[in-house]
Each structure stands twice: as C-alpha cells, then as structure tokens.
C-alpha cells in the first residue's frame, strides 16, 4: 500500500507540469470566453438600441438574456474541456509507453522495484483517474466564478441568473460529468475506471506479444465494449421490460466489477509472466 501511494505521487509529479498547464489553460480560455461572449452580447444590445429599440424587455425578446446556460454550450467553454479530455485519453496510453520507448528504459526500474508489479498498473490508472476528477472539480469552481463574472459584467436586466443545477442541466456534456443521482455517478465513474484498466491491458498485451498482442488486446477491448453495448441496447429497446431500472443498474455494475477484475487479472499475469523489456 505504501509503495502504491509513493508510485501514485511519483506518477502524478511526472505529469504535474502539463496537468497544471491544462488546468490554467482551461480556466484562462473559459474566462476569456466570458469576456468575449459578454462583449459580443453587449454589442448586440447597443445595435438594438441604435436601431431605435430602447425598451429592455423588447431587446430581451429579440436577442434573449445572457448567462451561463448559454455559455456552457459555446466553444469557449467546451473547447478546453474537450482538449483536456483528449490529452488525458492520449496520456492514458503514453503513461506506459514513455517508460519503454526511445532511449528511455525506466520500465526496467519500475519492474525491478521491490513491490508487487500490479502496483505499477494501479498507480498509473489511479493517477489518470485522479487527474480527471481534479479537472472536473476545477470545472465546478469555474462554473461559479464564470457565473459571478457574467453577473458583474452584464447589466442586471440582461443577466440570466442560473443556479448550478440549471447550468449543468443545460449542457449534455456537463450532465455526463455531474450526474444528479449517486447511483448514476457510481455507474459512470466506475465505467471510466474500467475504461482505463482496459486501455492498460491492451498496452500490456502489446508490450508482451507485440503486433499479435495488439490484435488480442483490441479484440479484448471490443469484447468488453460489446457486453456493455448489449446492456445499453436491451435497456434502450425495452427488451428487459420485466426488469426495474435499479436491476438493470445492478447488472451493469456487476458487469463493470467482473470486467475490471478480469482486466486486473490479465494485467497481473502479463506483468509477472509475459511482459518483456
């Protein structure tokens, strides 16, 4: 356990500069976005006024109010989130290969540590997962700040106040990250964790059997994906009409646990018996 914590800290520190850059970039782009969006909106308001409409309610009827519920669907808001998501997705693969490829043979050291090799897997997966959670928490703080900024920059009549729940509900992507139900939260984030475990298993297959391993790994990932897709479609087309939503949730959760256990077991075997440097 102690070694696992040490490895997580080590892995986190390795990516910390890029991670901090991502966090700062997200905040910066979104905050600039608030200013640019507000300016654009105020320009529209003055254009309306120049065209002879002086009544606020008439202007609002024409161009609407401005606030976070509009902003959360803009590229200024979603762009940095998608960029961070893409970087972390790429890093979930690169976190392995950076120890193996080129002149870097740090994997020798990691595999020779006097600790269970499974800790290497757990530390890498945990690091990515914590980074995702960290960015999602940061986004929550940014939502509050951006809302306050809109309130500061816009005349009260034109500001569309929204609480946190309304902000989240007005974006499909935010609803994905911040589910309102605890069960959905567990289901969604456990699947995310499973995704990271499966990606690591694919990498370890490739590192153990090269091209053949990559094919096996991709086939394994497709198999896991198909199982979850089957549950989703059964749910979607009401094939499981005789099951309650909670029962379908339970099936999905059990499948997640089974698939995660399988991935960990395969990774354990590969790390201890098959992987080669």
């Amino acid at each position: 356990m102690k070694n696992f914590v040490k490895l997580v800290r080590f892995e986190f520190n390795r990516f910390a500069p890029i991670y901090a850059t991502l966090a700062v970039l997200t905040a910066l782009i979104q905050l600039i976005g608030v200013f640019v969006t507000t300016n654009g909106y105020l320009r529209s308001v003055s254009e309306q006024k120049q065209s002879g409409i002086v009544n606020d309610s008439e202007i609002i009827a024409n161009i609407g109010k401005m606030g976070m519920t509009d902003f959360v669907n803009s590229l200024w808001f979603l762009g940095p989130i998608m960029f961070c998501g893409a970087v972390l997705m790429l890093y979930s693969v690169f976190i392995w290969y950076r120890d193996w490829l080129g002149k870097n043979t740090f994997i020798y050291r990691l595999l020779m540590l006097p600790t269970q090799r499974l800790n290497i897997l757990f530390s890498k997966v945990t690091t990515i997962f914590l980074m995702v959670i960290g960015l999602i928490a940061l986004q929550l703080v940014l939502l509050y700040i951006e809302n306050s900024l809109f309130q500061m920059l816009l005349p009260t009549a034109y500001f569309n106040y929204s609480n946190l729940n309304q902000m989240i509900q007005s974006s499909y992507y935010l609803m994905m990250f911040y589910p309102t139900s605890g069960l959905v939260f567990i289901s969604r984030y456990s699947k995310g964790l499973l995704g990271l475990l499966v990606v690591s298993t694919v990498v370890l297959f490739e590192r153990s059997y090269k091209i053949k391993g990559l094919i096996i790994g991709v086939a394994y990932a497709t198999f896991v994906q198909l199982i979850f897709s089957a549950v989703y479609f059964m749910q979607f087309y009401n094939v499981m009409l005789y099951l309650f939503a909670s029962e379908i949730f339970l099936i999905s959760l059990v499948l997640t646990v089974v698939a995660s256990t399988l991935s960990i077991w395969i990774s354990h075997r590969l790390l201890n018996k098959k992987v080669t440097v």
Binding site: M112, L113, P114, T276
Partner: protein
C-alpha cells in the same frame, strides 16, 4: 548462489537459449562470455524476470525470484534505468524511497569516486558518465548479488579503468557478481569464474585461477580455443 537451470528462450523462431545451466557464487566474479547475440543479456534479464522464458528455473539462494528478491539482487543494464529528465540527486531520492537496501553513504562515496555531481541532469551526461550513474544506482544497494550487462561497452578508456577499479574495491567485496562483457581484457585478471556460451548453450565453464595454474591458459586463451578453433 544464483542457480540457472536449463533455460530455454526463443525470439520468433530462433532459439536464443537452448538449455543454459550454470551457477554464480556469492563472493565471486562470474563472467558470461559469448559472441554478439549469444543470449548473455537475455540471461540477465531472465534472472530479473524482465523477459519470459519457454522453459527453465532460476533460484537465488535456493529461492525462486519474488518481489523481496529485488532487495537482494541488483541489475545494472547497459542503458540507464532512470528517467533522463531526472537529476542524479532525483534518481538517488527515487532509489531511497523504494529500496530498503539503498545505502546513501555508499552512493555519495561512489559519486565522489566517479567525480559526478548530484546536480547533473541524466540526459546531459556523456555515455561514460551515464554508465557510471547506472553503476552508482546498482552498487549503492546493499545487495548480495550484482548483475552487470556490458559495463564497458562504448565508453572511453579512462572511464573503463575507473569502472574496472570498482571490482577490486570494497564495493563488490563479499558480493556475487555476474557480468557480461566483450572487453574481457579490462577485467580478465579479476574474474573468478568464466562461463562460455555459444549457440544458446554453455560450451565450457571454469575457474580462471585453476585454469591458469593447471593448464597455463588465460581466459582469452580458452576463448580462442572455443570461438576460433
């Protein structure tokens, strides 16, 4: 004692190890000698469980390798095992964090001996100095056995002399050393035991001192007989 029994290993269809067996004793320097591609590095990697085998067993002091064994045996490969972005100090801190057997006093002694600065970044070191850092990271562990893969490969004569002098110092005293090298002349006089490998098999193994006394042959003489008959 490191005991290697009937190791078999294939790379694609080529059999690299074909029933290799030998032992390396504690307190002795055992040298694995063979031509390029004869499987010397593979044997060291297999001992450290860094590459899978088709067949065979490896025992360290009678026990199969497990995670605790990494506190009693250290591998010094021919490439640096730390991130190039680290400083030597950072690399030593990493070792101290994970290995109970890490001996900082010895590490400092070795740094002074090799005239290395702990503030230097690994990526900016010359090949010779990188190898010396690798030696520091291996030798500063209080382990019973040291595996060294081509420690003299591609480095200048002065660095080679410095590294070779480690073998006569107290740094390897009472430890078992298993070394692979092409540059046999650098350490010929230090070798206790030689294991000659060809085509994935042990051709001959002998005690260097006894060979010298009984047959008047040096390790190089025996190598000539085996590899250039």
């Amino acid at each position: 004692m490191i005991e290697v029994r009937q190791l078999e290993k294939k790379y694609k269809r080529k059999k690299v190890l074909n029933g290799i067996s030998f032992t390396a004793n504690k307190g002795e320097i055992t040298c694995l000698i063979g031509t390029n591609g004869s499987g010397k590095t593979t044997i060291l990697k297999a001992i450290m469980n860094l590459t899978p085998l088709e067949k065979g067993e490896i025992f360290i002091d009678g026990k199969a390798l497990d995670r605790e064994t990494y506190e009693t045996i250290a591998f010094i490969p021919d490439a640096i095992t730390m991130m190039p972005s680290m400083t030597i100090q950072g690399a030593m801190e990493f070792m101290a964090e994970f290995y109970i057997s890490w001996n900082q006093e010895r590490a400092t002694e070795l740094l002074n001996f090799f005239k290395l600065s702990s503030r230097d970044k690994i990526s900016q070191l010359s090949k010779g100095n990188t190898m010396k850092v690798n030696m520091v990271l291996g030798l500063a562990l209080d382990v019973d056995y040291l595996l060294m893969d081509e420690p003299f490969s591609g480095i200048d004569i002065f660095s080679r002399e410095q590294i070779a002098s480690v073998f006569t110092s107290n740094l390897v005293e009472n430890r078992g050393v298993l070394i692979t090298t092409h540059e046999i002349s650098d350490i010929e006089h230090l070798i206790d035991k030689a294991v000659l490998i060809e085509n994935g098999k042990v051709v001959t193994e002998f005690n260097a001192e006894e060979m010298r006394e009984e047959s008047g042959k040096s390790v190089v003489d025996v190598m000539r007989e085996v590899y250039q008959p």
